[in-house]
């Protein structure tokens, strides 16, 4: 206790003198019991303060300064550029260790960064657009990646897409791009023909009907393009019709009448108002139509004004008492032709029994 008080007193006196609150002489006079201690302690602190340690060597001081500031320059504050540089350096090291993995990662990165928006935008591209080649590449990738069964459907889908592209070009007046688009359409139709030829047993009535209808619409629209605006339009139109004919012949079941064999008259299968969208042209969406599983009507003959080879339009029109409408004079515009002048009351369409689906199993996949 005594020692603690002595320590406390000495501390306070040392601090008071150090702060200048009291002089050393006064302190010694006022505290004679601590005189010896105070003298020795102040002498010691004086000696400690007077120890003159050497200054740093000027050469070291200068060289260290340069080294530190140089190191700072090499280690700039973390900004976006330095962050990107670190990423880049890491990527370089990684690429040296695993080149193949690096390529895969780069492709994945590009697809994820650019692909998202560009791929989506390319789907709306038509011939002559900047992104149209990308659209073609994507279709090729789809074909390469899809199984054979899906491939066949893709050919139909792509052919219909080519038709849509030509229609869009006509609508936009970009006639100079139509020849190239027609060439691609021709290739697409050839692919469809090949598919049907190779696998005729597979039912594609709905898909085929949609494509056939699209081609009919295209034929009409091509007819509206002035020959002066697009030289060779007539030739292109004929080319489409020839493809249609070949396509229809392949599509017709064995023993069914060919188009030429059907009695004349305007084809009543053409809808009164031609839809402009491929989706609307699907049989199930035709007003008054029936589900795609409805029986296919006999192919009517073309009117005299149309080319001699007329495509078979497979449209699910509600059957009437007279399956084949009487011939309509060619002077009457198609839009005025009632599709079903007399439609007797009918029962609601009965859904056909669903065909048993065969589960397709893949190794490691779901059925």
């Amino acid at each position: 206790m005594m020692n603690d008080k002595r320590t406390l007193d000495l501390m306070q006196l040392l601090e008071a003198v150090e702060r200048g609150d009291i002089s050393l002489e006064t302190c010694l006079q006022q505290n004679p019991m601590y005189r010896v201690d105070l003298i020795e302690l102040f002498a010691l602190t004086g000696k400690l303060e007077s120890i003159a340690l050497p200054e740093p060597n000027p050469r070291f001081r200068s060289s260290a300064r340069n080294r530190i500031l140089t190191a700072m320059q090499a280690q700039e504050p973390v900004t976006f550029s330095t962050w990107f540089r670190h990423i880049w350096q890491s990527a370089q090291q990684f690429s040296q260790r695993s080149p193949s993995m690096t390529i895969a990662l780069i492709v994945a990165l590009i697809l994820s960064m650019v692909g998202g928006s560009s791929v989506y935008a390319s789907q709306q591209a038509i011939p002559g657009d900047l992104l149209y080649p990308l659209k073609m590449q994507i279709e090729d990738l789809q074909l390469a990646a899809a199984p054979d069964q899906v491939d066949e459907n893709l050919y139909f889908q792509f052919a219909e897409e080519r038709v849509e592209e030509v229609l869009a070009l006509i609508e936009q007046g970009r006639y100079q791009d139509i020849p190239a688009a027609m060439s691609r359409l021709q290739n697409g139709l050839n692919n469809v023909s090949d598919v049907i030829e190779k696998t005729p047993e597979k039912g594609r009535s709905e898909t085929a009907a949609g494509l056939t209808t699209s081609l009919t619409v295209l034929s009409e629209r091509l007819g509206q393009v002035p020959e002066a605006a697009m030289p060779g339009m007539q030739k292109a139109s004929e080319s489409i019709l020839r493809a249609q004919e070949r396509f229809n012949q392949m599509q017709e079941p064995a023993g069914k009448g060919k188009p030429d064999e059907v009695p004349g008259g305007k084809p009543d299968g053409i809808p009164a108002v031609l839809p402009t969208q491929a989706q609307d042209r699907k049989p199930g969406n035709v007003p008054g139509g029936r589900p795609s599983t409805s029986p296919v009507l006999p192919t009517p003959a073309k009117p005299d004004t149309l080319p001699t080879v007329v495509p078979t339009i497979v449209l699910p029109v509600q059957p009437t008492a007279n399956p084949v409408n009487p011939p309509v004079p060619s002077t009457i515009p198609p839009t005025e032709i009632p599709v079903n002048p007399v439609v007797p009351p009918i029962d609601p369409p009965v859904e056909p029994p669903a065909q048993p689906t065969v589960p397709v199993t893949r190794p490691g996949g779901r059925p």
Binding site: E40, E49, S50, P54, P56, N57, R61, M72, Q73, V78
Partner: protein
């Protein structure tokens, strides 16, 4: 750069500038504290080469912190001393203090000392020798307070204790040092 030419900009403002990539700002801080830090380190390791290495490392490490999280540095002077202090501790952990203070001064210090009398030189050597026998805390508090002239608050920041505790530690360190000197002189 001489001290009187250092622009009167606060340490904290210079830290902000350095953190934003202004290298010259850190140069000013370096010029402002190089002597103090060198002295502080030198008195603890007593080797010119070691003191130079540790001093340089203290400035480099502090800059690393400025670069990554300068919000931690609210008081640069305390931080640079603290960094130097930690480096000294690491230094002794690695070296286990193989060389004593007076041996280091005798054999490793080529720097000429300022003018002093023979008596002062003997006293100086004795004090340094006894300081070397003190514990780590006592050495540190005496170095900060009397060699480097830091306040109680600054010393407390470096040692991570309150200023009141620094007063107590300082008094005890002085008492220990006095006893050691008295014993040495008595022999």
């Amino acid at each position: 750069m001489p001290d009187h030419e250092i622009p009167e900009v606060s340490d904290q403002a210079l830290v902000e500038l350095a953190g934003n990539g202004d290298i010259s700002a850190y140069g000013v801080l370096y010029d402002r504290y190089i002597n103090q830090i060198y002295r502080y380190v030198y008195f603890r390791v007593t080797s010119q080469l070691d003191a130079e290495d540790l001093t340089e490392n203290a400035f480099l490490k502090t800059f690393e912190l400025i670069k990554h999280d300068r919000s931690k540095i609210d008081y640069f002077k305390g931080w640079i001393y603290r960094t130097a202090h930690n480096l000294v501790i690491d230094f002794y952990r690695a070296r286990r203090k193989q060389v004593t203070l007076d041996e280091a001064i005798d054999f490793h210090d080529p720097t000429p000392l300022p003018e002093h009398s023979v008596q002062n030189e003997e006293e100086r050597r004795l004090i340094i020798k006894m300081m070397d026998r003190l514990d780590e805390v006592s050495q540190n508090v005496l170095t900060c307070r009397f060699i480097n002239g830091l306040s109680y608050e600054e010393t407390g920041q470096i040692m991570r204790v309150k200023a009141g505790n620094v007063r107590v530690m300082q008094f005890r360190a002085l008492q220990k040092l006095r006893e050691l000197i008295q014993k040495e002189e008595a022999q």
